[in-house]
Symmetry: C2
Subunit: 369 residues, 2 copies
Amino acid sequence: MVRGQARRPRLADVAARAGVSKKTVSNVVNNHPFVAEHTRKRVLQAIEELGYQPNLSARNLARGRTGVIALVIPQLDMPYFSELARHVVEVAQQRSWVVLIEQTLGDKDLEQEIIDGRLCRRIDGMIYSPSRISAAALRRRTSSTPIVLIGEVIDDATLDHVSIDNVAAARTATQHLIDLGRRRVAAIGAMGRRARGAARQRLEGYQQALTEAGLHVDPALIGQAARYVGEIGAAAMDQLLDLDDPPDAVFCFTDLLALGALRSIHRRGLRVPEDIAIVGHDDIPYGRIAVPSLTTISPDKRAIAETAVDLLDRRVSSRATLPPRRVHVGFQLVVRESTIVRESTVVPESTGALSTPRSSARRVTALDG
Amino acid sequence: MVRGQARRPRLADVAARAGVSKKTVSNVVNNHPFVAEHTRKRVLQAIEELGYQPNLSARNLARGRTGVIALVIPQLDMPYFSELARHVVEVAQQRSWVVLIEQTLGDKDLEQEIIDGRLCRRIDGMIYSPSRISAAALRRRTSSTPIVLIGEVIDDATLDHVSIDNVAAARTATQHLIDLGRRRVAAIGAMGRRARGAARQRLEGYQQALTEAGLHVDPALIGQAARYVGEIGAAAMDQLLDLDDPPDAVFCFTDLLALGALRSIHRRGLRVPEDIAIVGHDDIPYGRIAVPSLTTISPDKRAIAETAVDLLDRRVSSRATLPPRRVHVGFQLVVRESTIVRESTVVPESTGALSTPRSSARRVTALDG
């Protein structure tokens, strides 16, 4: 699969370089008291020179850590979260952390238990993507385990928080449709009055782009979505297509909604993008192999993972009380077949997550924290 | 989201029922020595009556466990593995286990480290889906941490192992295509001489079905795939379509291969299923919203997770040496639009993993262990 690097140095390599037995290396790494000081120094030097990453537990023990962080997400098999989890596990591994996964599945009690320290003795800290819990509940939590928030459900100024700028992202997506000459640009994913976080922000960005272009914001073109799954995207698209003056473009707040909308359009015999252009959000792998492939907003998931692990590391390592940081990572608009007509011989983009192309990112927002 | 049950009992409920303070309940649950025996009994009785699940670490501490199991998989964001991980985390949670995820990304050294006990002091055992490591390496491992194998890469009689019957599954998929009257049935996913596990078994099942139906096994119809990703499925399909006598059906060894093949067929202006019928394998969520939606072999992932956690639990709990068990869980053939022509008004199946429909499973194989 991946990893082009040379083989990582092993315990045996350290032993060979230091001219000691593997057991001795292990003793040094595990901080056993009966290693002579000059031997210890030789081993540590060999570790340094080879860039050897010693056994996790030993290394962390020495730093007073458990060596474990928790990643708390709503659901592991939602494509966006599985990609994010993949990156968090990979980045954490590079820092000698292993990752424990808590999956909340929309269980508010479980979310509460987790912030109140269900895992506290096992972990150094957690990266937390809230689902149903409120900002107030987070502020009242009884545990002092460091938390870094990710995602857009809660925007709370008292905690470290990593996300993209959702308003800017939605504006970029909508602007792209307007630039293509579309004038009846719909949205799918609004959540009415109970909207918070991403749903609210993306609607705002959509409206901003229309207004900036001098276009009327038509409430009939704003499709509601109680949940961000394909079948609801299809139903919302059906409603929009039933309008007397149907849309010629649609920005869907997630790729799953967009893929559902795509199905609805196909069933009516309409063409994408000729009759209706579609932009999604999230850049999930399926969008790359859909027919047509899906133009989408691609949040820099790797940067979310790296920044979240960095912030957690900083908080775990520091003994001082640090002010909370709010970090926006970049995103890009990835233009594919659902908005641009191409020849039918177009080479498909990679479909395997292992080979996700990283073109030079159009970073609309950068670190601001 | 999910979980229709009543609110789970909390610490406060136990305290109220036992007529003691929350702190006392906590002391009992944490095995603190300074709780009077009659108080301890009253609290334990309240816990029992309410079905309260005490704090993980406390409960496990009493059983001499860490309360953590590891799930070792190649890559979290491959749809099959994210679904499997979702189920393992959910099932483990019900048994008061939390799940640590190790992602090997095809790194053989890391796979070796893991079986040699990289995590041993942290975990009670592991559920392991090998990627590149050999059965021999597994047998030589230096750690005694209980392991349950899942997946089909390694078939080793010395360890507990859960999978579906891949030969039977491939036979069912191919038989379905033959039953539809197709006579030039291709396969995509063979791996030549280095094939092991699933690749070998699925090819065998494909060939068996053809032979049973009195059809010739034509080597020209067997497409190779170095990796099971969409772009390789598309390339293999292109080759098959270039044949003088191209196939009228294809069984792809994974859904990702099938979705790539679908793209290749579309690009040539051919119709699915009219010109070419397609069956995939894995039942990943995207197959359900693809256009056309994908007929596929659906392994019972929930049963894989439950059986694996069961076997691990049994091994962790038992002090005796247990003989290894080989368990086949069920699968079903899910027939969708890529093999059967339907009216264009068909209601799409669910696209959200939260609402995956579980029709009555056609269990071709059952527990045999």
